[in-house]
């Protein structure tokens, strides 16, 4: 509290990563709402919104992959035996807890599956760049693509519910603030993380 009042802060997420997170969230929610609208009985021209949002999500994912590979520490997200040992022994983690890493990886698999199959499905849509070609893949291949796309949509609903629930828990709200405003306090860093494994970037709050 004293640190919070004194204005000290520890940067957890850079502005560009927060922008990626919220843009991805908005895109995924738009994709789910438009994609499931027909299942829920709503009738409107949802396909253009869906595929354009899908292209935005694809670009965001590509940006994140490049940024994570070249400008961030991939090791921060690696799940090792130590993560399980630390969790069982109630030892504080580095930047991310085991649960946060597993949620990230589960969501990554789901989003990448949805993006990859969605890109295939663009062959069935008229765009400014090409005319639709429903015979681009065989009927059997289309079936697998649609099943995987639908499965990714359903799994994303489950994961989003769990993700939102945990982000709203009082003891986890520091991470929601960090994803919105970027920082946690030095006291929160000391209480929830192992400073030998992650120190963040110190600074004064604006």
């Amino acid at each position: 509290m004293a640190n919070e009042e004194s204005g000290q802060r520890v940067l957890r997420h850079a502005a560009v990563d927060r922008l990626f997170h919220w843009l991805t969230a908005l895109a995924v929610l738009t994709l789910l709402a438009t994609g499931l609208s027909t299942v829920l009985g709503l009738k409107f021209s949802w396909v253009p919104i869906h595929w354009i949002t899908g292209v935005v999500l694809t670009l965001a994912v590509l940006f994140h992959l490049v940024r994570a590979a070249f400008w961030q520490k991939l090791r921060c997200m690696w799940v090792g035996v130590r993560d399980f040992r630390d969790t069982l022994a109630h030892r504080p983690p580095g930047k991310y807890s085991l649960a946060q890493k597993l949620m990230h990886h589960a969501m990554s698999v789901v989003i990448v599956t949805a993006v990859a199959t969605g890109l295939c499905m663009l062959a069935k849509v008229d765009t400014p760049w090409w005319k639709r070609n429903p015979y681009f893949f065989s009927a059997d291949a289309w079936g697998i693509i649609y099943v995987l796309h639908g499965l990714a949509a359903l799994l994303s609903i489950t994961l989003i519910m769990i993700h939102v629930y945990f982000s709203l828990l009082p003891e986890k709200r520091l991470y929601l603030r960090a994803m919105w405003r970027g920082w946690i306090t030095p006291a929160e860093l000391a209480a929830h993380h192992d400073p030998r494994r992650w120190q963040g970037q110190r600074g004064e709050r604006a």
Binding site: W142, H149, A153
Partner: protein, 50 residues
């Protein structure tokens, strides 16, 4: 409950059409189950601590 939707093509062959939307409430139910289970565990743990 079906896991996938199937249809017949022009040659009368059965082909996959997509995931069964019967699974939509299942996806929501699994999410709700995890949330309720964790909330109960959290509540009982808090009770034991105080």
């Amino acid at each position: 409950m079906e896991l996938v939707r199937v249809t017949t093509d022009a040659w009368g062959r059965e082909v996959l059409e997509g995931i069964s939307w019967d699974l939509l409430p299942v996806a929501v139910a699994i999410g709700a189950f995890v949330i309720v289970a964790h909330a109960l565990w959290r509540f009982t743990r808090k009770g034991r601590k105080s």
